[in-house]
Symmetry: C2
């Protein structure tokens, strides 16, 4: 193995052990080619209204594609080759014979090469992400580019470490008194089988590449089944993976892209096929529960949750409201880590200036959200666009049900660059804790409830029970009371939810950093997997030891 490849993997694994700041690809676009943005835009534009011909997959049934830009509200016109589930499985079975016998060193080299190839297309991937998800350019660049690559490298280095944990050969010598019994043993990490990776519409690469690289690194030929409305970013990643495989003299079909449409989905046919042993899934809970219910499969899910904020006491209310407003507005609340319910005691929030009443808190949050949304330099860029109509409709129906509780109505924020963009700023709704029908379920999108509780302890109890019953990926707590913070940490950790305390300034609860923050704990209903703990790779293969005499 090339020494520099080994060093990169070891550095990345060491970073996971240290969990201090680490990044292999800079997150600032300025760190890349000076004309990257222009070239990326041009490359993206040249893909539009064309067949996507970069894949090395033979025998397509035809071409399909139904992506729509949430900024332009027009179809992208990119068409992808169509394959039946059977054809994808059949190709994967053939490729698996080669890939399962490929050494971990070679797999690592090929997969790292693919990441380097993807890095050369970060700007193009960013535009593709922007015009499928509605993320801002900056989030698109960071999330689908360097951050996704970092998370893939994280998994790659963890898997490389785990595959090398045990020796490939040993002589086992046991003294039997008058003689030694010697057995020659070997240990093999046997891949589980064909892997299926099911993508979501809002984060087409960030959530998909960790599972994909985990399955590939552990020797499982993989099929990527993107959300039909968000294909292009991951199509580019798959194309670069195939190029890296071909460059190494390996079958391109070790990874395949299987595109379908909303009307004629192939996901269940793929998931239920006996040959598919591994499934990574990101998306809604109903389909995720179905995936988890399939027998004979090893499944990694990231589903929905209801993320909470406990607002107890603050040093600087303005800074806190600003931070919360940004966390709720970033990509219009369409992040799985975005806060939905802010719990505030009916006695209000303690500040250095005295108690701020519940109503003042609601007004403060609403004003902060309004100020951000209407700020011409911040609003459109922070909010981005709404990925689909269902989310837009949800905002309206939630507001309608809330009636007089609406403290701030969702607004259509004009994006001067894209006047047709589908936008919606967060609605802020005041609600009593007893009105569970309103707030106690996931309301995906730009929807924030400020829930009036009896006390901080009541806020914590609701937050914990919500995470336990519905799942939670994040939890935020603002308190100046060390004892209470300890209680929050204990109670939330007991329902397997991480807590972020007193985030202001540049720290946002939405952001989970590769190499440092576990994303989803796997312990509550929001998902059964965490990237990247060691199980995230170890469950993808099986250790088998053989023994030979003489």
């Amino acid at each position: 193995m090339n020494q520099s490849i080994k060093e990169r993997l070891e550095a990345a694994y060491a970073a996971q052990l240290n969990r201090t700041y680490y990044s292999a690809w800079p997150e600032s676009p300025r760190a890349y080619a000076e004309d990257g943005m222009a070239q990326g835009l041009s490359a993206f534009q040249s893909l539009l209204t064309q067949n996507f011909t970069e894949l090395f997959q033979e025998g397509s049934l035809g071409w399909l594609g139904e992506e729509v830009s949430p900024y332009m509200m027009t179809g992208l016109g990119v068409q992808y080759p169509q394959f039946s589930a059977d054809a994808l499985i059949s190709n994967a079975k053939s490729a698996q014979k080669v890939w399962s016998k490929t050494s971990a060193d070679t797999r690592a080299a090929v997969l790292l090469d693919a990441l380097d190839r993807v890095a050369l297309r970060f700007f193009e991937v960013a535009y593709a992400t922007m015009h499928t998800t509605g993320q801002s350019f900056m989030m698109s660049f960071q999330a689908s580019g360097p951050h996704a690559n970092d998370r893939a490298l994280e998994v790659l280095s963890m898997a490389y470490h785990e595959l090398g944990r045990f020796p490939s050969d040993v002589a086992w010598v046991k003294n039997m008194g008058k003689f030694d019994l010697t057995l020659h043993k070997n240990y093999k990490a046997i891949p589980k089988g064909i892997a299926l990776v099911i993508g979501c519409s809002t984060f087409p690469t960030w959530n998909t590449v960790p599972g994909l690289f985990g399955s590939l690194m552990t020797g499982n030929a993989s099929i990527v089944k993107p959300h039909p409305k968000s294909v292009l970013p991951i199509a580019i990643v798959v194309a670069e993976l195939q190029k890296a495989l071909i460059a190494a003299g390996l079958p391109a079909t070790i990874v395949q892209l299987g595109v379908d449409t909303l009307d004629q989905p192939i996901t269940k046919a793929l998931a239920e096929d006996d040959a598919v042993k591994l499934i990574d899934y990101t998306g809604g809970s109903a389909f995720g529960d179905y995936i988890e219910s399939l027998s004979g499969k090893t499944v990694f899910t990231e589903k929905a949750g209801v993320n909470s904020v406990i607002l107890d006491s603050v040093v600087d209310a303005t800074a806190v409201f600003g931070n919360l407003a940004f966390a709720a507005s970033l990509y219009s609340g369409q992040m799985c880590t975005a806060p939905q319910n802010i719990f505030v005691s009916s006695t209000g929030v303690k500040t250095p200036e005295g108690h701020m009443s519940y109503d003042e808190v609601v007004a403060g949050i609403a004003n902060a959200v309004k100020g951000l949304a209407e700020n011409p330099k911040m609003g459109a860029g922070t909010l981005g666009a709404i990925q689909n109509d269902i989310t837009s409709s949800r905002v309206k129906s939630v507001e309608s049900a809330a009636g007089s509780g609406v403290a701030l109505a969702s607004m259509n924020i004009v994006n001067t660059e894209f006047p047709d963009a589908r936008t919606a700023s967060p609605t802020v709704i005041a609600v009593n804790a007893s009105d569970v029908a309103q707030w106690k379920h996931e309301c995906f999108g730009p929807i924030v409830f400020v829930v009036k509780t009896d006390s901080a302890e009541h806020s914590l109890a609701l937050t914990a029970s919500c995470a336990d019953a519905l799942g939670a990926i994040t939890c935020s707590c603002y308190s100046t009371d060390d004892v209470f913070m300890g209680e929050v940490e204990d109670a939330m950790n007991a329902v397997f939810t991480p807590v972020s305390f007193n985030f202001t300034g540049a720290a946002f609860v939405n952001q989970h950093a590769a190499f440092s923050d576990f994303h989803v704990t796997g312990g509550n209903p929001s998902g059964n997997a965490s990237f990247t703990d060691s199980q995230y790779v170890n469950r993808r293969f099986v250790w088998v030891g053989n023994r030979r005499m003489g």
Copy 2:
């Protein structure tokens, strides 16, 4: 933490990484106290026909116990305190509050202390095992004593390593251009919840302690539910665990023994309780499948399988038949690792002296089994006794179905020390591959089929399909052909079954060594867990990270 404890754990973990021979407790009874055997027998006898009063569990409903010695065919008369499932769960919930907050260092010290305490009672545990399972004294001593302790230490050291994989605290500093963003992060290994460990009748400690020590070391209060016919060995282990807990100032009920009867079982009530999050199970496949089907549980199973031998070509037929006869006779085939089906081509077996016909192979195996069984110095001691009547009956019904295929009938081997012992030597049955109704399912006990196939390749195909469909914990292959051995290794490893090649002399396929051999791979229907790979401990807790600003 006491330095010597840390050193012992590190040495044990290093042994797992090396996978060369390692043992912390000598397996020979001679390595222990000279009067150990006599004192152990005396201690065991003093427990008979008494209430077992060593447990620190209050409020029992009464006393129960229905163990029968397979050697004496009389009840042991040991009575254990009876508890409802609800009471056990309630106690465990209370204890869990303390144990989950106990440091990994303290847990490790307490659990290692418990193993040391158990070691002082190895002889007593051996007699208890002998007179509940029917194992010979030597197997009882080794399997329930040093080997069980070694497997527990293996799990303990793996868990200790995994719990320390990530730092407890870090400062995460990200340069944001004009300033640094600093977050203080912690990482906690949160126990999953209450653990249930369900034992089996034939190996009451060897299979039970790994899961029990895995759950305890990772902070989960545990309930041991032994098989009603095989309680005493694990009762002694639980009692010593409780003494070690009390010595450390901890609640004894961090581990509890929950005994039931065949007529009034409490296993399902325990398993289905919402508070029970972890279940370790050893036993039959039907109940194991039920355990695996429970939702919201993390389950580790070791169920049944059909273990095969592929007999292709040999250097020394007599040595091979002798080895097979011993492997099939050891504890009368009641080991989950014992061979059941020996596949031989209709063209026979290649030997240096030329082809040995299928019929000659059958006769050779039958003679070897007969010779061993009837050898007064070997027979009774190797076979031990039959644990229960169901196994005895199975031998008779299988023979009856085989008709003229019976090459060697099972014999009642007189044990001069225990004339009333329930014994049965292996029956050897010649059968055609097409007679799947006879051989293609698990026939637990002293039953060996010599299956006539079309060729060595056919033998391999049947062995692999059997492991894939029915599970297998071991596979044995005798061949002098390197190419064929490679094919066998590939095909069997692909169905997640380890292969032992050309075992003769003192090497037996039945024996899986701690620190070196993974027991059950977890990849085929014989079970979903392997001890000890890292998942065996990592699935018992959840990593949760918290972040704090300033």
